[in-house]
Symmetry: C2
DNA sequence: GCTGGCACTCTCATGGTCCGAGTGCCAATC
DNA sequence: GATTGGCACTCGGACCATGAGAGTGCCAGC
């Protein structure tokens, strides 16, 4: 019994099951694939695959269905990622090119990925960690309130309003604010976010006493706070209605899946698993940490500006999904959105 | 047959049906409500209510179920909004108080509303239309690129990068940028957004020729563009998993509902129907414009800073929802989030 | 206008039967 | 030793009939 053919049989089972969403029997396999052997042989192979835990029969006399482990083998050894057509690639690029700002890029990306794969799409906001401080602005909004604005090289803007211990609208206010800005700017501007946060936290200790020092202190604290706030933990989701298309296909109902999709922390962890740009991470069924996702699979990719990987994106669908096509779409979108961010 | 009692019967039917989610018969009504009349009388009343189109029987011999029109009457004439307990109000306030910025306020609001009502919650981002320009900042990011930042009184920040026709890193760059900023600032700062957009669009025509005028022109154009961009069209949704709890309760399956929830334009229109602060708009079943929402109801409220209504929030659930409680929760959250925005 | 009574209707749950798809195994064959 | 054809067996799902129960509509009487 050749190992080789057994894997061919597994591949055929996965493909047929994805197509028909019905357990596939030995006879049906013969009709749709020309494997050159008889049904009885297929049955023997199937028995061996079942022994190995790669397929399972829902009940005694029905066809076989791939298990999570079966999909795993399929994805790792048997599936060639189906390349996208020239037209598709062009459409992706054009759609993303129309974005006007970062929010729009993320928004378009998630919608695109969802319609492309006809599945739930998830896109993480680009992370701050590898970017640096581009600019810091202080704006007085009242006598005792100053708006602190932080702009990073990825184009993200953070804002905080802090109470000022000094009257800012008085005659000295303008110059005072300029000096404070210069002070914090000297420490932070151009530095990586983590470094800037450290520098700003250390700043107050180095200052003399006085009103100006106190103002510098609160501003520095607000900035440091904004810097460490894990803003990249935001994700955007689209296409949940695609879940309904698979009806009762989930062993459990839709509820737990929708719940899991609201647990952004879990999603972020999964999205983060695609370690290198261009590579894909696939989490199948029970490999997922969250019980709500036990009947779903996730295909994730990293994306980012330049060589830095700043965030992840991916799709979630039933374990019975068309992996080659889905993986191709996720990879293509990750590539294009990275390109956009490079601008 | 007293008109009065007929409405009592309708109210009882709605309440029982919301409780049990099963068609309610004349007998069951007698057990749970002491209406002081016999089952036969109830039956007569029911027949009249059915005649009026306020209730319907799913099939010949089952109890009655309220129709959309029946719910409408219930909401308009029969339901008293159930006040929230002191503890609940305090919990709402405390939860929202912890927010650090606008995104966080919206995020917390939607999650709160969803858990409170155990339904899908929708929150619209505060609109720009009634706010004004607080500050404009220009930051050179390369010799020929300038980052234009617009800050509004609601704390929203818009950003655009524009190409500069002038070398900004040269010796004259700094002063040039300051003059341009003063120019656009004079037109826009403090003005209502719509007015600022008009003023900025008109600005280039009033300028002399030259590099500085050209730079002012592109900056003003970018700002005007940012101002008119309908940024308040963003909505955030949470709690879709609550939909699954109602299982097959929707006449149609979950799919169309989830689809409708992705059509933000539709949601925005519905959210916008609560005209005055403190008032609630309720859209029941087929009153909704989108077919996907025909088996759901939406309860919406406006919220805003001060006396200005800047955005809407609400929940979507099955038509068979507990209107008094839901309406109380929506109103309470709208009130508290308005208070937070006032800070 | 309200009430009790009664015949009627329709859904739903139960249980039995049948059919077919698909398996597992075995003896024969290459 | 792997492959094949054949065959008995199993099990789930569709189909049908039946009965119970809930609820109605209507009518005659108060």
């Amino acid at each position: 019994m050749s190992e080789e053919r057994r894997l061919q049989v597994l591949r055929a089972i996965v493909q047929d099951y994805v197509d028909t969403s019905e357990p596939v029997g030995s006879k049906a396999l013969l009709d749709r694939h020309h494997l050159g052997v008889s049904a009885a042989t297929i049955r023997n192979d199937m028995a061996a695959l079942e022994e190995d835990g790669l397929i399972a029969a829902p009940h005694t006399s029905a066809g076989r269905v791939p298990t999570d482990a079966g999909y795993r083998v399929f994805v790792d050894k048997l599936a060639a990622i189906k390349p996208m057509s020239q037209a598709e690639r062009r459409a992706i690029g054009q759609f993303l090119d129309g974005a006007v700002d970062l929010d729009d890029v993320v928004d378009r990306t998630v919608r695109l990925l969802s319609t492309l794969t006809r599945q739930v799409a998830i896109v993480q906001y680009p992370s701050l960690t590898r970017s640096s401080v581009r600019h810091i602005e202080l704006v007085p909004v009242a006598a005792d309130r100053v708006l602190v604005v932080l702009i990073t090289t990825t184009g993200r803007v953070e804002q905080r309003i802090v109470a000022s211990p000094v009257d800012l609208l008085g005659p000295a206010g303008e110059g005072l604010l300029a000096r404070v800005r210069a002070e914090v700017g000297a420490v932070a501007t151009g530095a990586l976010l983590a470094d800037a946060a450290r520098g700003l936290s250390a700043l107050p200790a180095r200052l003399a006493d006085g009103d100006e020092a106190r103002l510098t202190g609160v501003v520095a604290a607000a900035l440091a706070d904004a810097l460490v706030e894990e803003r990249e933990e935001r994700v955007v989701i689209a296409g949940t209605s695609h879940l309904a298309r698979h009806g009762g296909e989930f062993t459990t109902s839709l509820g737990p899946v929708l719940e899991a999709l609201e647990e952004h922390v879990v999603l972020l962890k999964l999205l983060g698993t695609a370690s290198e740009q261009g590579s894909l991470a696939v989490h199948i069924g029970h490999e997922n940490p969250h019980a709500g996702l036990h009947s779903t699979s996730m295909v994730a990719a990293g994306y980012g500006s330049g060589s830095d990987l700043v965030a992840g994106l991916g799709v979630v669908g039933p374990t019975r999904m068309d992996y080659p096509t889905t993986m191709a779409a996720v990879r293509a979108v990750a590539t294009y959105v990275s390109r956009i961010l490079d601008r």
